[in-house]
């Protein structure tokens, strides 16, 4: 059938070649490199540096959660710190009051955060753009105050917070508690990244993006927008909540003042710097929000905030579509040459 051959526009577009698919050996190489990069720090880094890297991976996971709902589904959340806090407290309460093992707290944290995300996602359906941003923001402001509240002080430890202890490496594995915490974090985050990766390239991921790009057309394609949006919120809260659980054990302490609305803003910054709607970008976003403030502090003890701001602006200026955009451009150039 040649109904559309020889359109005048044909010539104009001829120069735009479609990017070729990555060959299998390159993909295997990338996976091996990734594994190497994940394992190497165990042998190279000092205890404190390893702890920082653990925290960076945790932030990356939290940013990934935010990216699902804001990056891929276009619902702006400035309150994801709330889910992070709730995840952290679920784990902390179960471990410190009832001596649960860390692994056993994960499903509980997951269920609680999913339910909470669902609960927030439901009214969010009626709130567009900026209103949703403000509503989620107020959630982030409310959570630390709720955590301090007298009524639940027996559980949450009030202003003092709760202490807990990192799990030791299982017998027979010659790793320190810090090293084991890093391994646990990489495994949990790795599984989450893999699942989200599957989700995003599936029909559901496509529907999330379609809903973001053009809701009316998405509906006409048979997508149930209300259902997709609430579930996106739930999954997003689940992932960020798991990150919160990890942070509680990694730091061995939770307190309301660790979960101010600043956490939500940090996650948002991580998402933008890493790359909105990018899975790999979330990883870079996590590294950025953890290490750049330290770098800023090393440059100027007096005004680290100013330095951080300058670095942030420079990044957004140089990489307007985040690390993810930079990687895409490098990949395109390598392909062009090869």
């Amino acid at each position: 059938m040649s109904a559309t051959k020889g359109l005048p526009a044909d010539a104009a577009i001829g120069g735009l070649a479609a990017p070729a698919a990555t060959p299998a050996w390159q993909r295997v190489l990338l996976v091996l490199l990734g594994l190497g990069a994940a394992i190497a720090p165990l042998f190279v880094l000092e205890s404190f540096q390893l702890f920082q890297l653990t925290m960076a991976v945790i932030m990356a996971l939290a940013v990934l959660g935010l990216n699902i709902v804001t990056g891929y589904n276009g619902q702006i959340s400035l309150g994801h710190g709330a889910f992070f806090a709730v995840g952290a407290y679920c784990t902390a309460i179960l471990m410190s009051h009832w001596d649960w093992s860390f692994w056993a707290t994960l499903p509980v944290s997951a269920v609680v955060c999913t339910a909470l995300g669902w609960g927030v996602g439901f009214p969010a359906l009626r709130l567009g753009g900026l209103y949703l941003a403000l509503t989620t923001f107020s959630l982030a402001v409310a959570v630390p105050q709720i955590l301090k509240h007298k009524a639940i002080e027996d559980w949450t430890g009030g202003v003092q917070g709760l202490f807990l202890v990192k799990p030791d490496a299982p017998a027979g594995i010659p790793l320190t508690a810090d090293q084991w915490m890093y391994v646990v974090t990489v495994i949990v985050a790795g599984v989450c990244f893999f699942l989200v990766w599957n989700l995003i390239r599936s029909r559901i991921g496509r529907a999330l993006m379609a809903t973001r790009d053009h809701p009316t057309a998405a509906e006409a394609m048979g997508m149930d927008i209300a259902d997709l949006k609430t579930k996106a919120f739930a999954v997003s809260a689940l992932i960020t909540g798991i990150a919160g659980s990890l942070s509680a054990v990694a730091i061995e302490f939770v307190a309301p003042d660790s979960f101010t609305f600043g956490v939500s803003i940090t996650l948002f910054v991580g998402m933008v710097v890493g790359g909105v709607a990018s899975i790999l970008g979330s990883l870079f976003g996590g590294l950025f929000v953890l290490f750049v403030p330290n770098i800023a502090e090393a440059i100027s003890k007096a005004a680290p905030g100013v330095i951080y701001g300058v670095i942030l602006i420079a990044f957004l200026f140089l990489l307007p579509d985040g690390f993810a955009g930079l990687l895409r451009r490098i990949a395109a150039r390598l392909r062009g040459r090869g």
Binding site: M1, A3, L7, P8, N198, R203, I204, R206, M209, A217
Partner: protein, 260 residues
């Protein structure tokens, strides 16, 4: 039994009666044109069939079943596909992903199955991808499949919309002014394409169009609206010579009257 029966629908916006009791039918395998001067109520009728508006009274029957007020996202699943008057593509996505998005209704797998990439998910994905390849080939979009859809010229984007609507295997395809913004050559291509699609896909087409010559060329049957009422209904030849139709088009000072 007709595939689509529009039964005496009335749609009001505040004081304005946009559609005042319109009835017509689209048979299986038929290309039915819906024409009329600007403001006649074509788009409103179209939106009522596709579930955007609920009629104040009257019914829409599809395959004998009352679908009035059915939620919009059920329409594709029922077998009603559509394109939009102004482009409504998913702009950040590639051409291929846009077409694949059209297959959403033929999939079952949800969040959990997708995250786990279960065999069902892979099977569905392969099926959808195979159909997307066929449609990209049919609409001559293979070469641009991996490009962001926003990078394509207007006429190409319209073909992407067509592919996206066809991938769900609709029994009825609703097209709102598909010729809008196309040049002469492209309108000819479109006419050929519509006839090809009907032959190859076993479907009916409801064609809402301002462009009279296109409608007259491809339609088996034409319904004419004016001021929210149907003023004529018949073969292109019957409609062309209907005095009411000529009056409506001349009265509206429409340049397409001659083109018909």
């Amino acid at each position: 039994m007709a595939l689509l029966e529009v039964d005496d629908i009335v749609i009001r916006f505040g004081g304005v009666t946009a559609v005042a009791g319109v009835s017509f039918e689209v048979a299986e395998h038929q290309i039915c044109g819906l024409i009329g001067p600007n403001g006649a109520g074509k788009t409103t009728t179209f939106n009522c069939i596709s579930g955007i508006y609920r009629p104040n009274s009257g019914r829409v029957l599809f395959q004998g079943r009352d679908i009035t007020g059915e939620p919009r996202h059920r329409m594709t699943g029922l077998g009603i596909g559509r394109t939009f008057q102004n482009l409504a593509l998913f702009r950040s996505m590639t051409v291929r992903d846009n077409v694949l998005a059209g297959a959403h209704a033929s999939g079952r797998s949800g969040f959990i199955a997708s995250a786990l990439n279960l065999p069902l998910v892979r099977r569905e994905a392969q099926e959808a991808e195979a159909r997307a390849r066929e449609l990209l080939a049919l609409l001559n979009l293979e070469r641009v499949a991996e490009l962001p859809v926003a990078a394509l010229p207007f006429g190409w984007q319209k073909r992407v919309e067509m592919a996206r609507a066809l991938i769900s295997r609709p029994k009825l395809l609703l097209l709102d002014e598909p010729a809008g913004g196309l040049n002469h050559g492209e309108v000819d291509e479109l006419a050929e394409l519509l006839v090809d699609i009907r032959r190859n896909f076993d479907l009916s087409i409801l064609l809402v169009e301002h462009h009279m010559s296109l409608v007259m060329r491809v339609s088996d049957k034409v319904a004419v609206l004016d001021f929210g009422k149907k003023i004529a209904d018949g073969t292109p030849d019957e409609v062309r010579n209907d005095p009411e139709v000529i009056k409506a088009y001349l009265g509206a000072g429409d340049e397409h009257a001659q083109a018909a």
